[in-house]
């Protein structure tokens, strides 16, 4: 049992929880994730380790409520417990290296995940450009924090309610077209966003790393549910990733695989809305 010691509602659909998990906090690194199972009937879902405090033994997770499990998790409060919390899984990000100029891109909830990695890039002595994007202003995350650590900071919204009217790729293309030196692009967000970011950087061959969010069951390399095709080879995102070279990833396959359980997810979600879920705690 893992206690929730802090909760913050970041925006209407995104929540942050700080969870006591000293053994994981002791050893985890940016870019790794945990698998969680909220209760006995629950599903195991992967969530990135957003931040960690080794001394206090705490792990921060930030998640968007998209279906049954994330809504259930979002209904928990400080003092509640999560039944299973497994990690740290996956390979850590390679942030110690000095690349030169790094563009860190966060889309939607991805901003929260990109933040600690971007911070590490900055600390390693890179020139840091961040692009923070969301559908609308209310959904932009970590705005102040991101701005603080960035040498250059851009925001985009699909509806133009804040920053540049458009997508994260709108700003990225402009940077590329203005012939800026870019040594690395690091993008986390919905799969379609990562796909278009990778497309945008492909012509100029700018190294691009994406953090894939395929469906996972165990998260330890045992089931193959998370398999993705990278450079023509089958990889398991949970052990070989989750970060991969964006130019090598078969995004269409990933997008198809993400839809595999759509009808079941909808059924679960409906059930949640009609039962406990309606009444928020």
């Amino acid at each position: 049992m893992y206690e929730i010691v802090f909760k913050q509602v970041l925006n209407p659909v995104t929540k942050m929880l700080v969870v006591r998990a000293p053994d994981i906090a002791k050893v985890c690194k940016p870019g790794q994730f945990v698998m969680i199972r909220v209760n006995e009937t629950g599903e195991r879902i992967p969530l990135t380790i957003g931040d960690f405090d080794r001394k206090k033994g705490e792990i921060t997770i930030v998640f968007q409520e998209v279906g049954k499990t994330t809504k259930l998790l979002g209904s928990l409060e400080k003092g509640d417990y999560i039944l299973d919390f497994i990690g740290p899984l996956g390979r850590p990000s390679e942030t110690e290296k000095k690349y030169g100029t790094v563009v860190a891109i966060g889309g939607g909830c991805g901003s929260a995940i990109v933040y600690p990695v971007a911070r590490a890039f900055k600390e390693a002595g890179n020139y840091l450009i961040t692009i923070n994007g969301a559908r609308t202003m209310d959904l932009l995350l970590y705005r102040k924090q991101m701005e603080k650590i960035s040498d250059e900071f851009y925001e985009t919204t699909d509806d133009g309610s804040c920053g540049v009217h458009g997508f994260v790729t709108t700003v990225l293309s402009e940077l590329i077209q203005s012939n800026r030196q870019i040594d690395l692009v690091f993008a986390v967000g919905p799969a379609p966003m990562m796909k278009f970011v990778s497309k945008t950087t492909e012509a100029k061959k700018i190294p691009t790393i994406v953090s894939l969010n395929s469906i996972m069951v165990d998260g330890t390399g045992m089931c193959g549910a998370c398999r993705v095709t990278v450079g023509g080879q089958m990889k398991f995102a949970c052990v070989d990733g989750p970060e991969f070279d964006g130019h090598q990833v078969d995004f269409n396959e990933l997008l198809g695989r993400l839809n595999a359980y759509k009808t079941y997810e909808a059924e679960s979600d409906k059930r949640w809305a009609s039962q406990a879920g309606g009444a928020s705690k």
């Binding site: 053994d23 994981i24 050893v27 199972r37 009937t41 629950g42 599903e43 195991r44 049954k68 499990t69 039944l83 299973d84 919390f85 497994i86 990690g87 740290p88 899984l89 069951v217 165990d218 330890t220 390399g221 045992m222 089931c223 193959g224 549910a225 398999r227 993705v228 095709t229 089958m234 398991f236 052990v239 396959e253 198809g256 695989r257 839809n259 595999a260 359980y261 079941y264 997810e265 059924e267 679960s268 059930r271």
Partner: protein, 474 residues
């Protein structure tokens, strides 16, 4: 083995006998539930079966069993109505008899060499073992007296049959034993792989509870190599020895097109969703499991049979086993093949997939296969299947489950410098002691042998416990 053993009557030869049949759920009923298929012997049935055992002076059954269960003696105790003593007798060498009685491939182990079986069906050793183990479990077994604590800690990685057996033997020797398990439940393949209808989870839980009552500690959600490395366990956490029983975890896929379509699943994924996550109770349980109407399962082992029979129970209307060799080579237990056939699983022998066909959305719409012929024997002694030219054909399908074996999970080798692995990724051990290339680190089970059996994993766990004891006493 041409002559008949000791007590063959000379004059009138009785016609060959069969095993006392074990009551089972009828096929048309059981394919609609996940309850156990075989219901087990009653005391009368067990007595009748045990009565037939000839109590051979030179029994052949025992050496057929990888852990040498004292078969003759336990059967004799059944004949004397001493069921509890019979169970205790088996437990002298086999700590998980309720499980082995159900899942051992008896037809190629203990029963194959039974002398009574030369003329008749062999004595139903597995069914008898299961009977006494179930009897003892229901009656409630008393805990053995443990020796005084030695004061040394041993870490066991993985709670499959190898790890559980090693833990049980070590706690009985007086060690402090902690099992680290990656999942939230103990049992390894016994929990996430083998389905409820073949091995009720309650039985596995009871065996694990027994170990817990003896003092074995289990830490769940602990992926060793991630949360803690083996070196840290030994150098920082005070474990004097480590046993790696992490199983053969990573599923193999075929090197053909279409393996990443959305309705192609590894048997591991499919069975884990159903068994560990209770996907068959969706939406009461949150983990969904997707099954179509026309299913193909690639492979011919126990895993393939389990995936096929599970598919039927989830509502598939047509389930095909696709196996590239012939019926004779099927590696699955005979009983499972028989049950699968009774339930309506269709067997396609000498057929190998060449491509899985999908639609725009990534759903399977068919599978192209080629017919095979059996050629010369290969290294394993089995005749090598070779494709027959121009014999391709397409099967109409919507789901494919791949059950062609697993490769060792790389997490532990990758995080344990100095640990020797073979070119297949299995951990190399000293056969005698069970020790790996790192002093104090032992290994056994599927991670050493590659996918094998419950009883062989247990045998290796046992052997390593002996090795650990010798190492720590030396």
């Amino acid at each position: 083995m041409s002559d008949e053993g000791e007590s063959a009557p000379k004059k009138e030869r009785k016609p060959p006998t069969k095993k006392v049949p074990i009551p089972e759920q009828p096929p048309n009923v059981r394919i609609r539930n996940f309850d156990e298929v075989a219901l087990g012997y009653s005391a009368e049935q067990a007595l009748a079966e045990a009565e037939k055992c000839m109590q051979c002076r030179n029994p052949k059954c025992i050496s057929g069993c990888p852990v040498e269960v004292p078969i003759k003696d336990f059967i004799n105790l059944i004949r004397e109505h001493k069921f509890m003593e019979a169970a205790a007798k088996i437990k002298e060498t086999n700590s998980l008899p309720a499980i082995c009685g159900r899942v051992c491939p008896q037809e190629s182990q203990c029963e194959v060499s039974c002398i009574y079986g030369i003329r008749n069906e062999p004595i139903a050793i597995g069914r008898l073992e299961r009977f006494v183990a179930d009897y003892a479990r229901v009656k409630g077994e008393t805990l053995p007296k443990l020796p005084p604590k030695i004061g040394k800690k041993v870490a066991i990685i993985g709670s499959g049959p190898a790890g559980l057996t090693c833990a049980g033997d070590l706690i009985n020797l007086g060690y402090d034993v902690t099992i680290f398990e990656a999942f939230h439940k103990p049992g390894g393949v016994l929990i996430y792989g083998i389905p409820e209808f073949r091995l009720p989870k309650e039985i596995v839980t009871a065996e694990v509870d027994f170990l817990k009552r003896l003092g074995v500690e289990i830490k769940y959600n602990s992926v060793i190599g991630k949360i803690r490395t083996i070196h840290e366990l030994m150098n920082e956490d005070g474990y004097k020895a480590v046993f790696i029983g992490s199983g053969a975890g990573a599923p193999n896929f075929m090197p053909i097109k279409g393996m990443s379509l959305t309705t192609v699943f590894s048997a591991n994924e499919f069975l884990t969703r159903v068994n560990l996550m209770k996907g068959y109770k969706f939406p009461e349980y949150d983990t969904p499991v997707k099954i179509g109407k026309k299913v193909a399962v690639i492979g011919g082992g126990n895993v393939a049979m389990d995936a096929a029979r599970t598919s039927l129970r989830l509502g598939a209307s047509e389930v095909n086993i696709i196996y590239r060799r012939s019926r004779e080579e099927l590696p699955a237990r005979a009983e499972e093949v028989h049950h699968a056939e009774e339930e309506g699983v269709q067997f396609n022998f000498l057929v190998n997939p060449t491509e899985v066909l999908g639609d725009e959305a990534g759903n399977v719409i068919g599978m192209q296969c080629i017919r095979m012929d059996l050629g010369e024997p290969d290294e394993s002694g089995r005749r090598r299947p070779v494709p027959i030219k121009n014999s391709e054909f397409v099967m109409d399908l919507d789901t494919v489950i791949v059950a062609i074996g697993n490769s060792p999970n790389p997490i532990i080798p990758h995080t344990t410098p100095g640990l020797d692995v073979s070119r297949w990724g299995t951990i190399v051990i000293n056969e005698e002691t069970g020790m790996t290339s790192i002093p104090g680190v032992f290994a056994g089970g599927d991670i050493v042998t590659g996918a094998a059996t419950v009883i062989s994993a247990m045998g290796q766990g046992k052997n390593a416990a002996r090795g650990i004891h010798a190492y720590l006493s030396g």
